[in-house]
Amino acid sequence: MRDVVLQTIAKLIIPFIQLYGLYIIVHGHITPGGGFAGGSILASSFILYALAYDVGDGFRRMPRLAAKWLESMGGLMFVAIGLFALVQGGNYLTNFLGIGNPGTILSGGSIPLLTIAVGIKVASTIITLFYHLLEEKRHG
């Protein structure tokens, strides 16, 4: 199904959705939101694209291999941040950076980093899950 209105509107609002998703992820520690909420919003923009255009086009924007890498990297980033705390002499997943100035974006130590890792993980997972289910249905 190709609908000009749908496609044009989608094209217009997708950048804003993505920007909003990134904002929610990055500001996770000072405003409501966080990795999961922001990641879902980010993923919804890709899903909107796939619905308005075609799953094949969606896969061109977000190739399978890239999604696979992002998924593994999101998880590995989380684990690596945790392990870095071990190097610093703390327990696993200890908050090793300084807490900064509470209320500003550079605060909370490793919390923003972990939020970003979760955001990457959630976004790539939801995109991949949705694309594969959609693709399966199309072939079915």
């Binding site: 520690h29 999101g74 979760v118 991949t128 594969h132």
Partner: protein
């Protein structure tokens, strides 16, 4: 057989519903700071800014105080995708195939 199963399930659920509703009637009152609002919750609310630097307490809990759970959460997502992809690709291009 199907009717019997439905009756059994309904009976079971009725018993369960009665038990749960009885439990609700004995629960701590809603909206009051009950047993769950103890020193742990207060610690999170009062100390999180000094201890973690995050103004959003929920963020502080999920990525600092209980970050180990969040590691599990990220893993559940990865597990989900691995399971979905395994199930989908295992059964690709085989339709109506029987158990040989």
């Amino acid at each position: 057989m199907k009717g019997f199963r439905n009756i059994l399930a309904t009976l079971l659920l009725t018993v369960m519903a009665v038990l749960l509703i009885l439990t609700v009637s004995e629960m701590p009152a809603f909206g009051e700071p009950g047993p769950a609002y103890n020193q742990v919750a207060r610690h999170y609310l009062e100390r999180s800014v000094q201890e973690t630097g995050a103004v959003n307490v929920i963020s502080a809990i999920i990525s600092d105080y209980r970050a180990y759970d969040t590691l599990g959460e990220a893993t559940v997502l990865f597990t989900g995708i691995a399971a979905v992809l395994a199930a989908l690709s295992a059964h690709r291009q085989k339709r109506g195939g029987g158990d040989a």
